[in-house]
């Protein structure tokens, strides 16, 4: 079975990011870059499927700057077999749909049996790419999946977390699944994996896509402003008898904070 996993390089959630001078983007400067955590769940799931079947191929596909090869290499160190990157600056900088179009061009050629994606990327959080990609490839898809159960060689049941409950859907391959936290606990790369990753191939793909379809010019969504969250104001301390304080706090939660 050929499994393609889409991964993105993102700044670590602990990285200190700052607003760029244009007011529309963030300056990453020396921020520590990582594999998008949800994509890491997808890589782990792909590896587990391959291991359970005793064979197959896991291919990591990434769209991003040249430096994103480092994140692809991390996935290879976890155990993926090879990588494909798209790093042509002319294609980058579009919106989620643009990224989906680039990935679709790569995957249309690759013809995987299963495509795994993270449910979103923690940098932009547009939640667009996985669904867009499934649509463009004409694949059945399940989003926010926390468990995959194989019911046959090419059929599976996917458990989805939905508001207030769970949904179980059945899919036949080829299919696309976007995964949610909780599906697994990603492994740490082993030393042997790190050594082996050096020798695994990363191919640079150059899909031929017209400028009106991808990149900044083709973006259907334009970011007009980015702002930091409002600064946290200091807390308030209450002193005195517990009974008195509790009723004071409850009252304020109702009247001031309006959360009750």
């Amino acid at each position: 079975m050929k499994i393609a996993v889409c991964v993105k390089q993102v700044p670590s959630s602990e990285a200190r990011v700052q607003l760029a001078a244009d007011g529309k983007s963030v300056a990453l400067a020396d921020a520590e870059m990582v594999v998008n955590p949800y994509d890491e769940f997808a890589v782990e799931e792909a590896l587990r499927i391959k291991e359970a079947r005793g064979g197959g191929e896991v291919i990591v596909v990434s769209v991003g700057p040249e430096s994103a090869q480092a994140e692809v290499r991390k996935c290879l160190a976890m155990g993926a077999d090879r990588g494909i990157v798209v790093q042509d600056p002319a294609l980058l900088g579009g919106d989620g749909l643009s990224t989906a179009r680039i990935l679709a061009a790569v995957l249309a050629e690759l013809q995987p049996d299963l495509v795994l994606c993270g449910k979103l990327t923690i940098d932009v959080e547009s939640d667009l790419v996985a669904v867009g990609l499934a649509e463009l490839l004409g694949l059945p898809h399940a989003a926010l999946v926390t468990h995959i159960e194989w019911t046959g060689e090419r059929t599976l049941r996917a458990r989805r977390e939905i508001e207030g409950g769970r949904e179980v859907v059945e899919l036949g391959l080829p299919a696309l699944i976007s995964v949610e936290k909780g599906i697994n606990e990603p492994r740490y790369a082993s030393l042997k994996g790190i050594m082996a990753a050096k020798r695994k191939p990363i191919e640079v793909a150059r899909p031929d896509l017209p400028a009106e379809r991808v990149g900044p010019g083709a973006a259907g969504v334009r970011v007009v402003a980015v702002a930091p969250p409002p600064e946290r104001t200091g807390g308030r301390k209450f002193a005195g008898e517990a009974e008195v304080i509790v009723s004071q706090v409850v009252e304020l939660l109702r009247s001031e904070a309006k959360v009750l």
Binding site: K74, A77, A189, L191, K198
Partner: protein, 385 residues
């Protein structure tokens, strides 16, 4: 850590993986294990599964590959979160596995290396004795050949990992009449050998979750082929072992020193006194500047020593300098970190008092700072001879 140390992609990958593991898996248990002194078996097992217990040893020998610098980065990153994990790895790889890898016969290597590198069991190095500390050549433990077996008698002191070891590298006098450091040999002792006994578990100031024990041999019988290296040539064997081991103690120090900075800088930015963050007071700035500069300098010395070892060059002087300097500046950095946190730094609500206690070992283990200076000065005199 802003300075670029020209690490290879592979070295960076090792550092990043161990850093992440330490943050996610070890950080949550470090303070508690310091309190209880319980050995962190589970996380050491997880490190074994990642191949970290075989780091720096070739795959043909059952190791996981990687060079000395990658190993040093692993010790540093573990120690940045918990020194007990750092010394456990350092003692295992540098003192237990390395002499077997470097001096073992093909049979000895085949027997032990795969088990040691996969973490089936740990290993220890038994050099120090109650009456032979800095004067390691003063070994009193004896080994006498009786037919097909060596018979060991004596005691060892402060042996790291001993409770969890399957095999120990130990030194014993084989030539009773030889004076000084001559007539010592090294042996491989399996921990189920008759007459081998674990002694008292030390209740230590720091590195409390690491395992440090006394050992004794009472007519302990081991096979004739348990001799490691050449007969009567044990002293040069363990001096070479310590040349490598000292780089790992420097890395232990670096990790602890870095953690002191990691705690002190953000605290000084957020703590306000006299209407301003304390990091704006010149005297606090002076502390921080010294810590950062000295730890960076120690890192250069340490990585340089590791690179020399990787290149197969002599590194006796460089590893002694790295160990001496890293230990000194880390002791100072952890002291200053407490100073910067004031009264809070003196309590167990913050981790810097643990760093301070852990740091002290770096000035003692694998040769005290005084002994390092002796080594450095002797090497220096050779350079000018």
């Amino acid at each position: 850590m802003v300075t670029n140390f020209d690490l290879t992609e592979e070295q960076q990958a090792v550092r990043d993986t161990v850093r992440r593991f330490a943050r996610e898996r070890i950080a949550p248990i470090a303070a508690e294990r310091d309190r209880t002194g319980e050995f962190p078996r589970e996380t050491i097992q997880e490190l074994a599964e990642m191949g970290i217990l075989g780091i720096g040893f070739p795959e043909e020998d059952g190791g996981s590959g990687g060079d000395t610098l990658s190993y040093i980065l692993a010790v540093e990153e573990l120690s940045r979160v918990d020194g007990s994990h750092g010394i456990t790895l350092a003692a295992h790889c540098s003192l237990g596995v390395w002499p077997i890898h470097a001096f073992g016969t093909p049979e000895q290597k085949a027997r032990y290396m795969p088990k040691l590198c996969s973490g089936e069991y740990l290993s220890s190095f038994g050099l120090t004795e109650p009456d032979a500390g800095s004067d390691a050549g003063g070994t009193r433990t004896t080994a006498v050949l009786d037919g097909d077996e060596w018979v060991l008698n004596g005691a060892k002191q402060f042996i790291t990992n001993a409770s969890y070891s399957g095999v120990l590298v130990i030194t014993a006098k084989t030539e009773r009449t030889a004076s000084g450091s001559r007539g010592i040999s090294a042996f491989l002792v399996e921990t189920d050998a008759p007459g081998f006994e674990l002694g008292k578990k030390e209740d230590k100031l720091g590195l409390r979750a690491s395992d440090t024990r006394a050992l004794s041999f009472q007519d302990c019988r081991i096979p004739k082929d348990a001799l490691l290296g050449e007969l009567h040539r044990g002293f040069p064997l363990f001096m070479k072992t310590l040349d490598g081991g000292r780089i790992s103690i420097a890395a232990l120090a670096l990790g602890i020193g870095q953690s002191a900075l990691d705690a002190a800088v953000p605290y000084s930015m957020q703590r306000r006194q006299f209407g301003q963050p304390i990091c704006e007071f010149e005297m606090i700035q002076s502390h921080l500047a010294e810590m950062q500069t000295e730890i960076t300098a120690a890192r250069h010395l340490t990585y340089h020593a590791a690179r020399l070892k990787d290149a197969g060059r002599r590194h006796t002087l460089e590893s002694a300098m790295a160990k001496y300097y890293a230990a000194t500046v880390t002791m100072k950095a952890t002291t200053l970190a407490i100073q910067i946190l004031g009264g809070y730094g003196y309590t167990k609500d913050y981790p810097v008092e643990r760093y301070f206690r852990d740091a002290k070992l770096c000035e003692i283990g694998e040769g005290t700072s005084e002994i390092q200076k002796i080594v450095i000065a002797r090497e220096l005199v050779k350079l000018y001879a």
